[in-house]
Structure formats: C-alpha cells, structure tokens
C-alpha cells in the first residue's frame, strides 16, 4: 500500500473532504460524550447512546480473531443495556473505582446515508482507591452508527480488546 492510499480518507460516499471531516468530528463528539457519561456522569444514561435494537459486545481479541462467538459482555437491545446498568448500580458488589476512557484514531470506513461504519482505538484506565492507576483495557471499537432525529446513535459497538489478561474485574462498560 503506498502512502497516498494509506492517508486518503476511506469514506467512499462522502462527497468531499469537508463532509468527511464533519462526520469524523461528529463521531469524535459522540465518543467524548459517551466517555464522559461512563467516567464522570450517570451510568444509567449509557443506554441512551444506543438505538433500541442495538448490540453491544466486549470481546477478547483471541475470540474475535478465531471466529469464536463468546463475549465478555453481550448486551442485546436497549433492554440488555439497561440490565447491565441495573446490575452495576444495584446488584454487583465491587470496590470503588474511577475509570477514564481515551478514544482516538477515529476512522470512518463507509456510510450509505443511513448507516455509518467507523472504527476507533480505545484505552480505559482504571484507578482503585489507594492503588496505582492501571490500564484496564486496550482495543478497538468497531462501530455502526445510525442517525436518529439527526443524532448519532450506536446500532452496534464491538469492543475488541487486545488486553486479554483482564486485571481482576470489568464493572463498567468500555
């Protein structure tokens, strides 16, 4: 692959570089709001970033690469996302912690007007009380967005993580 091909934005249907940049900026803002919701906001609002029929999965990279279907978290539809937030706030017994999401390298892979496919790198850093800060998860978001009333919503987010040896527990979503 030559340098031109590698640096050319991969968004076949975008009419111009301006549109492509605008879309990328929209996704950037979306991801920033998504991170703020989990890191500093109200986790009960996390399902609002998804469509009603959304799929959310957290998958070890070895499973993804080998075509094995098992996910660490598998939430189906708004209901599945709500169940996860209820478990976090009502039933799971865990030590207090802060999370911090870093989302970068957004790439728009394609859009057909209704659905937008994009990827991003993510890193989630975790700080337990009285302990050193550590990397909890590093991986790739594989996203499908849909606009609902003009707003971007996730129809699908697969968090495929390289950090297959999970340090202890995953409480909050990536």
């Amino acid at each position: 692959m030559d340098v031109d091909t590698m640096t050319k934005p991969a968004h076949p249907s975008a009419k111009s570089a301006v549109e492509a940049r605008a879309l990328r900026a929209d996704i950037y803002d979306f991801n920033s709001a998504y991170a703020a919701c989990i890191d500093d906001g109200d986790i009960m609002q996390w399902p609002d970033f998804f469509t009603e029929d959304a799929i959310y999965k957290v998958i070890p990279r070895e499973n993804y690469d080998q075509g094995l279907p098992l996910a660490t978290i598998f939430a189906e539809g708004r209901g599945g996302l709500i169940d996860r937030t209820v478990a976090i706030t009502k039933t799971t017994v865990f030590r207090p912690r802060y999370l911090r999401h870093f989302i970068s390298n957004i790439r728009v892979l394609g859009s057909d007007g209704e659905l937008i496919r994009a990827e991003a790198n993510y890193m989630v850093v975790e700080t337990l009380t009285n302990d050193l800060t550590r990397i909890l998860s590093v991986g790739r978001y594989m996203d499908t967005f849909r606009r609902v009333d003009g707003m971007l919503k996730l129809k699908e987010r697969l968090c495929v993580y390289d950090s297959e040896m999970v340090p202890a527990t995953v409480v909050y979503p990536f």
């Binding site: 094995l68 279907p69 660490t72 978290i73 598998f74 189906e76 799971t92 017994v93 999970v166 409480v171």
Partner: protein, 415 residues
Amino acid sequence: MATQLKNDPLNYIWPEEGHTRVPYWVYSSPEIYKREMEVIFGGPAYSFIGFECEIPNSGDFRQTKVGDKPVIFTRDETGQVRVFANRCAHRGVQFCYEPHGKGKTEFICPYHQWTYNLKGDVIAVPFRRGIHKQGGMPKDFDMKNHHLQQLKVATYNGTIFASFDHGMPSFEEYLGPKMLHWVNRVFNGRPLKVLGYERQRLRSNWKLMFENIKDPYHASLMHVFLVSFSLFRADNPSKVQLDATGLHGVQISQRGEKKEDEATSDIRQNMAHLTLANPNMLQPEKEFPGEATVVMQTIWPNLIIQQQSNTLAMRQIQCVSPEEFELHWTYFGYADESEEMTMKRLRQANLMGPAGYVSSDDSEVMEATQFGVSKYPEAKAFVEMGGRDFEDTDHMVTESMIRGFYSGYRKIMGL
C-alpha cells in the same frame, strides 16, 4: 535471647483446632508457595490441560500451564495427545512462541534449532558432529537423553489432564466413582465445541479460588443477582458432596421460585423486585438428567467445572506467585447442539467471567480477601459454619467442603 520470628519457615505450625482454622500464612508465604508448586502441581495430581477438540489434528497445539509451569499440548501422528514442558532440553528456552496453532510437523527451538518431533523426542541437534572436525558434541552425546520433558496424559471423554508424576493411576481412579458421576453428567462422550475464552489475573492466592467454589454459604448472600433471579438461594433444594480425600468436591443445586422469605431476609440488599429488561438473557433450558440446575465441581488441583443453567465452562487455575493467580475460562457447548442452545449459552455467559453478573462479585471478594489476609499472616480464618467435620450435606448452609479441602491439603503439604 532473640525471640523466634513469627512465620519463620521452620515454624509453620497449623492451628491446633485443625481444619476448622486456616492460618493466613498459607495465602502469602513464598516458602509455602514453593512447596505447593513442587508437591502439588509437580506431584501426584492430574491438572486440567484443555479439550481434545482444541487440537483435532496431528500437529495442532496450544500453550497452557500446570500450576505455574509452562507446557504445550499437542497431538502426534498416531493421534495420541502429548503434553510437554515448553522448555528446550538444551538451554531451557521457551521453544514454542505462538499461543496456539495448527498442523506442525515438528517444534524447532529458535535459539540453536534443536528440533523435536510431535512425540517430544529430539530429532536434530545442529553441528552435533562439529564443522570441519572442529567443535561438536562430545563422543558420548546421546540424543535419547535430551528429549522434551513429558507429562503423563489422561484423556477422558474429550477432556485432557496431565501430571508430572508418571506413576499416576488412571483418571477414573484418581477421581473416584462419586466425583466421576458428576463429571460424566457434562462429559458423557458427546463431542464438544469451544465457544471462546476469557482470562483474568487476580491479586489473590490461588487457593482462594478453590475456597470460593467450595463455599455455598457466600453464594446465597453476596450474589444479589443470583438470589434476585432465584438462580441460587439458600433454601433451594441442594447438597454438597466430597470425595474421601476432601480435595475434590461438588455443590449441586436447583433453581427455585422467586419469592421473599427467611432465606432472603438476612440478605442486606434483597432485590426480589428486580426484573430483566431483556429476559432473553436468562431463559434456561433443561439439558441434563435429574433436577439439578447448578453443578459446580472442584477438581484438585486446578479445575472448576461450571454448569450454571446452560452456561458451561472449565475454569483453569494458573499460579503466578504467592499472591497472584490467573483464571483461564474455556466456555463450551456440544458440537451437535442447536444454534438456539448455543445462543442461550452465549447470553447466559453474561453471568460469568471477569464482567459476570455473578463472577465479578467473586473476583472482587478474592482480591479483598488477599488484601485482608496478606499482612496478617499470624491470624487465621474461622471455618465452622455447618459444624466441624467435613461430610456430604443436603443443604448449602455449610463450609464442609472448605474443611475437607484443608484436611487433604495439610496431608499433601505435610503441615
């Protein structure tokens, strides 16, 4: 005169109350850990290795560990499963780098290219006879003395176990009929398929993982999710069974009705009013004979067989250090099952693993236990729920299996 150091390695004396107490030095002492690796994982015990379906063809292989010792398992040209140390016979190099792979015909150490066949025999030693009559191995060098270190392998209905002790009896004899009965429930010869893996590293002693599964007392209290959805309750019909050594054990339970009464009134956060917004996640289907819906079996020294509703997994314990271990989960189903059943397993997997609605409580509490015991080696645990003996019970309000475990552990460790 100087007083004797507390926890001096020469002074590891078990509390006089016996197996109803667990001295906290067993969870943090480097001397104890070293002995465990030698006499338990390096000794007469069958450690779980993997599934035969993970290496269907000759030359397929995977890395794993026995205790903290790296090994690989593979299948030779005759179809026999082989397990050997991932350590070149020459200078000790890890010769297999890839975590798993297919169709090898030989293993070549990258350092000096010593080459081994699939039986673990060395078949090539470069420059063995020197170059231009210079160098080379001494005249009495005999390839036969330089094979990979082999483990004794036992396969049982698709599962693979191995031991560093070549004098081991058969796997059936090792487990005994009572424990084998529960193994046969899930592994009856029906072909298996792997659904995926999960791995986590916990800052906790490895024995706390065993204790967790041998402790039904906590399950009906800490696991609010399980109790709220009646997957496990103190008053559900249930029992625990141990083998004669106390080292293997099993807890067996039935899913109950969702209700509030004295079995839940002691639970600080009873959430019986909870409902799932997506009930798809938890629609178990009966698939095994009998009434039990949860069977959690601990097989000494490194395996938990998990059957909670339709989520099936092997949880393999790998040791890291006195205060760290890893849990390697292999989720599976059956090769001939319906897509619908596989989907049930994948949905119910939300209960288990590092993010499990149930298991994350356990991961957290094991690290919290280590936090509590690590710097108080002179203190000890009180384990008398359900009495002071260890025997089978037809209820869950007991720590019988933990007492049995430490009774067997003390004998093996000479403590």
